[in-house]
């Protein structure tokens, strides 16, 4: 290695390296099998909650993308859920096959989201959030009251088949929901690990720095809104099918939007896993809170407050932290960065600060002995 000055501030050996993101294939496969198999092992009454969990997970996922990654908090997302319910009902009732209804409704949701996406280019922070609040209220009280959207003789939502696969049972609907969720999770996960996901984060952290890298703000912000809306609207179709009825607009109002935001926040808004955890958690929460005589939204508010106070990224964040702490406690802490600078006296009395690159993790406190071959070494 050619001797030279080391760059400013070489970090010393430290603990707690963040693990690079990689999906452990074995765990995923196991989870997939479990997800498909459990409704065949557990009683029929549980299947409803499974289906509800897929709906909630989809909504939570949409908010992970929009609020978690792109940093645009939406307090009006129940509007998209409601849109999916009402339009989905009309299409399904009219006989449109489910395999067409789902993408059609998704596209509609994306289109409607432009009402928020385009202003988002000029508004930031709290102002945009308040606009989403107003949007939610306007949808609840005006859009969903329009005969064109809702006014319909029958509010029944049929349990349509998906390419022949029946959804008449809750288990069938769950499996369909699982398929939709699975595809969405994969797509979103892929986006996260690509330039698109990084661009979303860049816009969240510093639009100026993003601009300096040539990133165009508009497609990413509008795209995040559109994707988020599309996922939630699609979830709405399944939601309607699950309840086999269309609830009144007041079910898709401001409180519901707050509840939907809580799904990923409690689960962990930074990651796709958080969406799944949050969705499953809240889907199964209703019977639990009933046992204690506590209202669901009250429990939701408490959980929101607790998670926010705890400064972890929801359940997923807390678990990750515990796992890391466990690993650290279980043995000597691995060093994070494998290079350090040592002051080495040279024959002429000056000192050189060569950079030594250590390719393996070392426990803290390890002493290293350096030997220099005459004539310098190679890195």
């Amino acid at each position: 290695m050619a001797p030279g000055r080391c760059p400013p501030g070489i970090p010393s050996l430290r603990r707690g390296a963040p693990t690079p993101r990689r999906s452990p294939r074995a765990w995923l496969a196991l989870a997939a099998v479990a997800a498909v198999a459990w409704p065949f092992l557990l009683p029929r009454t549980t299947h409803f909650y499974g289906a509800l969990a897929t709906v909630y997970a989809l909504v939570a996922l949409s908010l992970v993308v929009l609020s978690g990654w792109t940093g645009q908090i939406s307090l009006g997302h129940a509007a998209f859920l409601g849109l999916g319910v009402y339009v989905g009902q009309r299409l399904l009732h009219a006989g449109v096959p489910l395999v067409v209804t789902l993408p059609a409704v998704a596209l509609l949701g994306g289109a409607v989201s432009l009402v928020l996406g385009i202003p988002s280019l000029r508004l930031r922070g709290v102002y945009l959030t308040i606009v989403t609040l107003a949007f939610g209220a306007a949808c609840e009280r005006w859009l969903f009251a329009l005969p064109a959207v809702r006014g319909y003789k029958s509010g029944i939502v049929p349990r349509a088949t998906l390419l022949g696969f029946p959804t008449t049972t809750d288990r069938g609907l769950y499996l369909v929901g699982l398929a939709v969720l699975g595809l969405s999770l994969a797509a979103v996960h892929n986006l996260r690990r690509s330039d698109v996901g990084r661009a979303w984060f860049a816009l969240r952290d510093s639009e100026d720095a993003a601009a300096a890298l040539g990133i165009r703000v508009a497609p990413y912000k509008i795209g995040a809104f559109a994707l988020s809306a599309a996922l939630t609207t699609t979830a709405g179709v399944l939601y309607g099918m699950l309840f086999q009825a269309t609830p009144g607009p007041s079910q898709f109002g401001v409180l519901e939007s707050f509840f939907l935001l809580a799904l990923p926040v409690v689960g962990g808004i930074g990651s796709v896993a958080g969406a799944v955890v949050g969705g499953a958690l809240f889907a199964t929460a209703q019977p639990v809170v009933n046992e204690f005589g506590v209202r669901l939204f009250l429990a939701t508010g408490v959980m929101l407050a607790v998670v926010t106070l705890s400064r972890t990224d929801g359940v997923v964040g807390a678990v990750t932290r515990l796992v890391r702490a466990g690993r650290a406690a279980g043995g000597p802490a691995p060093a994070a960065y494998g290079s350090f600078a040592a002051d080495v006296p040279t024959p002429d009395g000056a000192s050189e600060r060569p950079v030594i690159h250590v390719p393996h993790a070392l426990p803290a406190g390890t002493r290293l002995r350096l030997r220099f071959a005459p004539g310098g070494g190679r890195r």
């Binding site: 760059p7 400013p8 390296a17 300096a212």
Partner: protein, 255 residues
Amino acid sequence: MRGHLEADGLSKHFAGLVAVDGLSLEVRPGEIVGLIGPNGAGKTTFFNCVTGLEPPTAGRVRLDGVDVTGWSPAARARHGLARTFQQVRLFRHLSVRENLLLGRHQHYGAGALQAALRTPRARAAERDAAARAEAVAERCNLASVLDAPVGELPYGTQRMVEVARALATEPAVLLLDEPAAGMDTTESAAFGELLRRVHDESWSVLLVEHDVPLVLSVCHRIYVLEFGRLIAAGTPAEIRGDERVRAAYFGASVG
């Protein structure tokens, strides 16, 4: 040849204040040019005009022959103008590696749909970006911190990450906004060394700085600004001996 930056008669007036007054300077391809001047000389304002953050009151900015006056910062970035910020603006929710990968945004070989489907093309794009990001990290001595969360790094290292990220865009011109701010003399000297080492003729640098020793040691040519006007221009040796520059700095050590 890429990397030709020209500012032509740039002026910026604020209400009652002339911050920059008819400044013309040039960065030729492959050069490292410094811009120094005492506090309030107008360096930051000039910088903002060149990067597109503020429109000049008069004058033009040209990049490789193209008049970019009036272009947005993002448009200029896409044309090859990279920059760093006075206060390091790294993406704190991303690791160093992902920050550098974002530097490859303009050269990314796959679109959103392909990325979502993880097509072979998307995978290739990601591999290519990763390889180039690692190469840049290697050149800037950042290979060891690639997976570190940005917030945990020492300030000097963060500064280097920002420069590396800008380099990853394969810029024609790199504008550095007081990169040595917050560094001590050893660190800034090391920074200068590194800059010289990674620089080659395919791109040029405009270094706006307060740290005069750094500028004198690194730059091929230097412009000196005072009260929005150019008072000297030349090689480091010429600037070191220039009476006007000495006078402008009044007791700040020059050279």
